[in-house]
Symmetry: D2
């Protein structure tokens, strides 16, 4: 079943049953789960550590590497859902609320093509920039 | 709409539209998105940094603190979904596959009450342990 | 040679020679080095992931585990020094300046036994707290 | 006093006195200190989050940004030294031992210009690569 057919609740339950079946709730203090999540996030980063931004995009076309990345991303998701379970947080609600906040903080008109207030616009587009047309980034 | 009614695809689309609307795909190389995710995971950890494991569980009953944690968790989720979007990964599939792998690595019979191979069992349960009955952890 | 006999400059040179000898400066953009440092910091955290605070202190008396922790700590230090090398930063100066700032932010009189403004004092010291005498933490 | 004149022991003592003066040892379980270190490592990364590798090198010539980076690097160092203090680890010894291990794992002849076994050599050097002469990276 894919993302179009799977609810957040279904994935949360999958994680919850796994933890309960192993009597692991005792280890899943929010402190520990947040540490575990951060550790997995670092393992995910490790796949892109020495790659250029452009090379990191090419991973999408490298099945072996992509599968490894998918596995780390799954680990991150599992701990995120485990934390939601431990604290009784509704993930969909939290994400929607944060996206509303983000839209207010980064109005599209003002931040189109700018990643933040400190981003003052395109640098001189010489050969040393990654060559994506009309864009400044790889 | 809550976790029971929201699919992964719906949340992915929310994130995708936000990014597209601001022409931010140029900044969303998987390298950058993995960095952003790790940064948010650390901000989430920060809420539990100096708390005991037991105190971290008590956050569930502290509305102000819980809301702050929910916001950081949402940030982590947003970047996880953004990465799935950039690499064309189906999150539900990845999570299910990883849970199957986890079940093989940690059979319930063998790991009930043990967090890993290095966990050789309960220590001497003296007053200095966190006092959850029958469990070794807070 | 131990910490009493080794200067920051000596360790920085050790790292610098290693990087130069392998023509690795090309990979050591500050962006990459900061990622590498964060990845090693997570690997260091992993050693304490499922331990109670008290158990994490006991690692000091477990030679095998302590050696593994020392290795990860060394990795963190190496990348920190590599970043100092790439950006031309004097580490001793930076640390001293930050410690001055910290002392102003956390006057000893005000923060003795309190980790921050949000720390309002000892909770009820019942058996469920870690049992360090007169202290609230393990 | 600069890196050439400052020993690791001197910086460790600075951190140790600060912690002792505030009676903060109780919060400095290795578990907590490793979390704190990872959090600071993420704050350091944040300065390079949306920059290209080349732009991250340019920070060395931007005094305001460089000072902010120096402060985060100092935070990372402080917690690394705090952990060494808590666990009684000699940092210089650990770093030297790890560098010996690294030299065996990455012999200079074999890894000159290669970041690891998976690095099979220069890609096609077209305009889309960052333009550093003779190198593949920015």
């Amino acid at each position: 079943m894919t993302d179009a057919e799977t609810t957040l609740a279904q994935l949360r339950q999958l994680v919850d049953e796994f933890v309960a079946e192993r009597d692991w709730r005792q280890f899943h203090s929010p402190k520990n789960v947040s540490m575990a999540l951060a550790i997995e996030a670092a393992e995910l980063m490790e796949h892109f550590q020495w790659l250029t931004p452009l090379e990191s995009r090419e991973v999408a076309a490298q099945p072996e590497k992509l599968a490894a990345v998918a596995e780390e991303l799954a680990d991150v998701l599992c701990y995120a859902l485990a934390l939601a379970n431990e604290l009784g947080l509704d993930v969909a609600t939290a994400v929607r609320q944060k996206m509303v906040k983000n839209a207010l903080k980064y109005p599209a008109d003002e931040f189109r093509g700018r990643y933040g207030p400190e981003d003052t616009g395109p640098k001189d587009l010489g050969p040393k920039d990654s060559g994506a047309e009309g864009k400044r980034r790889a």
